[in-house]
Symmetry: D2
Subunit: 334 residues, 4 copies
Amino acid sequence: MKVSVIGATGYTGFELVKLLLRHPRLEIAALTSESYAGKKISEVYPALSGLCDAVLKDNDMEERASEADAFFLCLPHKAAMEAVKTLYGKGRVVIDLSADFRMSDRALYEKTYSTRHTAPELLKEAVYGQPELFGGELKGARLAAVPGCYPTSVIVPVYPILKEGLADKSFIIADSKSGVSGAGRKPTLGNSFCETYGDFKPYGIFGHRHNAEIDHILSRAAGEVGAVFTPHLLPLNRGILSTVYLKSQAPLSEIEACWEKYYGGRRLVRIKKGGETPSIKNVAGTSFIDMAAFRRGGDLIVVSAIDNLLKGASGQALQCLNLMAGFNETEGLI
Amino acid sequence: MKVSVIGATGYTGFELVKLLLRHPRLEIAALTSESYAGKKISEVYPALSGLCDAVLKDNDMEERASEADAFFLCLPHKAAMEAVKTLYGKGRVVIDLSADFRMSDRALYEKTYSTRHTAPELLKEAVYGQPELFGGELKGARLAAVPGCYPTSVIVPVYPILKEGLADKSFIIADSKSGVSGAGRKPTLGNSFCETYGDFKPYGIFGHRHNAEIDHILSRAAGEVGAVFTPHLLPLNRGILSTVYLKSQAPLSEIEACWEKYYGGRRLVRIKKGGETPSIKNVAGTSFIDMAAFRRGGDLIVVSAIDNLLKGASGQALQCLNLMAGFNETEGLI
Amino acid sequence: MKVSVIGATGYTGFELVKLLLRHPRLEIAALTSESYAGKKISEVYPALSGLCDAVLKDNDMEERASEADAFFLCLPHKAAMEAVKTLYGKGRVVIDLSADFRMSDRALYEKTYSTRHTAPELLKEAVYGQPELFGGELKGARLAAVPGCYPTSVIVPVYPILKEGLADKSFIIADSKSGVSGAGRKPTLGNSFCETYGDFKPYGIFGHRHNAEIDHILSRAAGEVGAVFTPHLLPLNRGILSTVYLKSQAPLSEIEACWEKYYGGRRLVRIKKGGETPSIKNVAGTSFIDMAAFRRGGDLIVVSAIDNLLKGASGQALQCLNLMAGFNETEGLI
Amino acid sequence: MKVSVIGATGYTGFELVKLLLRHPRLEIAALTSESYAGKKISEVYPALSGLCDAVLKDNDMEERASEADAFFLCLPHKAAMEAVKTLYGKGRVVIDLSADFRMSDRALYEKTYSTRHTAPELLKEAVYGQPELFGGELKGARLAAVPGCYPTSVIVPVYPILKEGLADKSFIIADSKSGVSGAGRKPTLGNSFCETYGDFKPYGIFGHRHNAEIDHILSRAAGEVGAVFTPHLLPLNRGILSTVYLKSQAPLSEIEACWEKYYGGRRLVRIKKGGETPSIKNVAGTSFIDMAAFRRGGDLIVVSAIDNLLKGASGQALQCLNLMAGFNETEGLI
C-alpha cells in the first residue's frame, strides 16, 4: 500500500516518516513540503540521511492524489480542509492530523477556530481517530480525524469512566503538561531555548481550543460535559502528562475493571496498578499511553502519559491507517 | 548581629550562605556540617571560593550556641528538634527550616512524620514563619518554623481567599510541580540526571506530608480544611509552580482586592493581573512569590510560582529573621 | 539463535534488550541482574512493560551457559573477565562490553586498570569489536571486546587517516564531550540532576583510561601513538561528540576519499561533506556514527558524533554479533 | 553617576539592568529599545517587576546623550558605531559591547565584519575592555570596547603565558563551548528549544569572527599569532567553558606563578590549583573567570569558565566603567 505524507517537514511529519520506514506493509510514495520542496528530507532532518533521502515535492494535491492510496495530512487547520476535499473526492484514504474534522458539530468548530468550515459535508464522513474507543468506526472509513495531543491524554482514561457512570460528569479537572514540540517547529520567542529552559508555566488558561475538543468527545460518553482544562509548558522536548481530578464513589478496582473492559487486549494502552505512576520517560519515543488511577475518599485522580508526537499525533495516525486498511493496529508501532 | 548556619552544605544551606554574604546587618559566625566538618565550604561549593572560605565546624550545639545570636537550622526533621531544644534553651533566636515545629498540633505531627516529638513544650513557642501572613507573631518571637516549599506556594495565595470566604473551603485542589533540588543533595536513583532528564511525573499521590501541613495551616483560615494536593517532579533544578483549582462566585476583581488587602505593600508578593501568568523563570533565584487568578463561571484557578530554595526555604527563613530582629523584611533579599 | 544479556539492568543492558526485541534472527534466552534477580525487567524499566516482562535471573554463569548460544556481558571490568572465562570455556559466543579484553597487551591492561588479568590466555582470542575496521577478524571469532564509547568516536574517523599517512601521528588532540549516561546508572553526587543540570566541565584530564585504549588501537595503524584526550561531561543524557585536531597537508578531498575507501558501503558510518556538521541530535537513539572533516592550512579538524549507548556500546555489540553469526551487520540496527 | 543602557531588552541589556539595580554608585537614567519603546522593561522581563518598571525610550541618541554621563551600548555591530560617534562626540563615557571597536586595525575589522568602519578615527581612542589585562589604559579613557565572550575565555588565561614566553605561540588550539544565550534573544530555528535540547555540536569551524579577535589581541602579547578556535553550542542557557591546548616545557608551578603575577589580587579571576577543574556551574550568574592548568610532558591544557553574559559581556562592561570612573573594579559585581 502506497502512502504519502503531506507536510512532512514539521515534527509530526518527521515522526511519520520514521514510522513508515519501519512499517512492513506500507511504502512511502511522496513526501511534501511547502517551504522545502525540491530539497531532500534528509537535508532538513540529517538524522534521516541514509535512511530516507527522498526529494520533497510540493503540495499540488491534484498531482499528489495520483501517487498514493493513503495520505497523512500534517497541515495547519484550514489548509487541511482544502486538501481533504481534493483527496477524499478522488477516493483516497485520508488521515488528517489537523483539527478540521475532529468536531462533528460545524458551528462548534467554526466558533472554536474562528473560521468558516469549507467542507462541512465531510464532517459526517470523518471518524474521530481514537482507535481504542472508536476503532470500530474506522474499519472501512476513508477519513480519520486524528485527535489532538492533549485530548488523547484526557479522553482515553476518562471516557470509559464517564460512559459507565463511575464519576460525576459535572466535575472534571484536567491539569495537563506538555513538552515544547507541541508548539511546532516554527521558531518563536515562546519556544526559543533560553525562554523555555529552566522554566515552567501554564498558558491559555480557560481558553485553549483543546478544551472544546475534550468537552465535545466526552459529551458522547455522558452528554453535555464541561471540563476545566489547563495546559502547561514543560522544559523537555516530547511528552504529555495529564493529571485529571474526578469525584467518584467507585472503588479503585471498579475503575480498573472498567478500563480493562474497554482496553483489555489493546496493546498500546498500559494500565498501571498497585500505585505505579505513569511517567513521560516511559512512553517517550513510543505510541503507548500509560494510565493509572488513585483514590482517597470521594476524590479520584487519574494520571496518563503519552508521547505528544506519537500517541498524541503520528503514532495514533498510523494506528488509524492500520485499522482502516485492515492491518493489525500495532503494525509498525511496537 | 552574628548568625550561624547549622547544616550549611545542603542546598538550602548553600543558598543561605549566599544570602548572608550580601546582607548588610548580619555577619556569619559559623557554618556547620556533619559530613564535611574540617573542610572549607568553598571546597564543597567551589562557587563560593573567594567569597566565603570559612572552615566548616561540627554540629556540637553546646559549642555552636556560644558563637552566635541567631541560628538557621538546615537539618533533617527529628535532628532539628534536638538542636532547637539546646539553642532555644540557651536563649538564642532559632529559625528552623525543618518540619519539626510547623504543626502546633503534636499528635498531627507525630502521625504525619511517624515519630515522637521530643520538644512538645516548644510547639506553642514556635511561629509558623510565613511572614506575609503571620509576620505579626514573628516580631519578638525566638523560634520560627519556616514553611515547607509546597505549602508556601499554596498557602500564600489561598489563605486570604478562604479567610474572606471567597471560595468553597470544601473544594481545594492543588496541582504542584517542583524542581529536583526539592529532593535535596543526597544522590538517589530518583534524583540522578538520567532518570530525571526529559521526564515528568507525579509522586506521593494522596500521601505527601506537605498535604497535612497545607490542611493544618489553611484550617486556621476557615476551619477544618482538606485539600487534594498532588506534587510532580519537573526536569529543572529550582522552582515550584502550583495550579490551584477552587470554586468561587466572587468576581476576579474581588479576589485581587482581597490579595491587595493582605499583601499590598509586601514587596516579595507580586500579584499579576490582566491575564499575566506566573512563571518559574521569573522567580528563580529570587525570594518573590508571583501569583495570579483566573475565573470562568464558578471555577477559579489560582497560579503561584516561587523558587523552592528561596521563598520556599532560605529566602523566607531570612525574611523571618529580618522581622524577628526588627529589620526591614526585604533586607538582603532584593 | 538464542542470546542472553548478563547485567541487563544497567543502561547498556536496557538498550540491548530494546534492540534484541526488534531483531528478526535473535531470541532472548535470559536476562540477568545481580541486584534485581527475581524481579521482572519491566519493574526496573517500566518502559518495557508489555514488550518484555521477563523475570531477571542471577549471574550463576554455569547455569546461564546452558541457556543460550551467545552472551552479551554488561558487567564491570574485572567481573567480566571471570564470566568470559566460564562462557568461552564452554564454547559459547561472547560479546564483552567491558574493558577487560580490549587491549591485547596484558601489561598495558594491568597498568591501566590497576588489576591483575586473570584470563590472559584469552587476550589473543579476543577481537577488538569495531566492526567497520576489524570486521574481518570478527567472522568466526567467539570473543569480541566491544570498544569503549570515547575510543569509538575517535578511532573510527582517525584510524584510516593515520593508516594512510595523511596526518602527523605525533599530533593528535581529541576533545570529547559525553552525555551523563556514560557514567552509568549507579547514583553518585557527580551524576545527580542538580549537580549536572546547567553545568559543563572536563574531567580526568590526562588521566582517563580511554586514552590508553585510543593510543593502543591507533598504534596498530601507525605505530606508537600518544594522543591527548580530554573528556567532558555534557548536560544531556546520551551522545558523544568528539572534536579531533590533527596536522595534515592532505587536501580535504583526500581525507574524504580515504574514509570512502575504508567505510564506503558500511551503512552505519555516515560521512558528511560540504561543511555539514555532525551533531548529537542526529545520531541519538541510533547506531550511526556521523563524521566530517574541515581543513585550514595545515590544520585538520575531524568531528564525529555517536550515541554513547548504541554505537558506543550496545549497538556496536549487536553489530559484532551480527558479523560473528554471519548476519547482515545492520540487522536489527536500522 | 547616571548611566543609560542602549538596547536594554536583549539578554546583555537585561543582565546590565540587574547589575545596575545593585550598584551603590550608579543610577539608571534611561533604558532604550528599538522594538519595545513605550513599554515598561518589566513587561518585557516580568522578572524585573517591582524592581525596575522604567518605561523604555527610543534610540534617539541626540536626546539620550543629554540624560546620562555614561552609556552601555548593547547594539548590534554597525549600529553601535553610529551611536558611539554621537555619544563620544558629546563628551560622554561609552562602554560598547559590540565588536565595532575591539580591533585597533581598521582593515582587519572591515575584512572580518565585511562592512566599512564609519568611525575609524575613534579606533585609537578605544581601549580593549579586558580589565585585568588592560585596566591601566581604562583609567581616564572614555571609550571601552568590551571583549567578545569567547575571546574573554581564551585571552585571560593564554595572554600572560604567551607574553612570558611560557608556551609555543605557533601552537594554540581553543576548543570552546557556549550556552545558547550567546546566540541572542532573536528566535531562530537554531536557538529554538527542540532543535537545541539534547543536542551538542560545533559551528562556524574555521570561520568564527571571534577567531580574528583572539588572534588580534594575543598578537599584542607575542606578535603575529594564529590560533585554531572552534566554538560549540551547549544545551544550557548560560556559560562558556574553553579547553585550550598549548605546547610548553614550563612546569605547572611556573604557569601558575605567571598567572599570579598578572592576576594576583584581582578578585574576579580565580586560579584553581591541585587538579581542581573549572566548571560552568561555579561561575554561572557571576562575573568570575575560573581557570586552571594541567600538564603532561610537553602538553599544556588550560581550562577556563565564565558566564558568557557577565564576565563575557555585561559584568565585564560594568567592571570597565568601575575602572573608568575610578571606583573599585568589583563594585556591584560581588
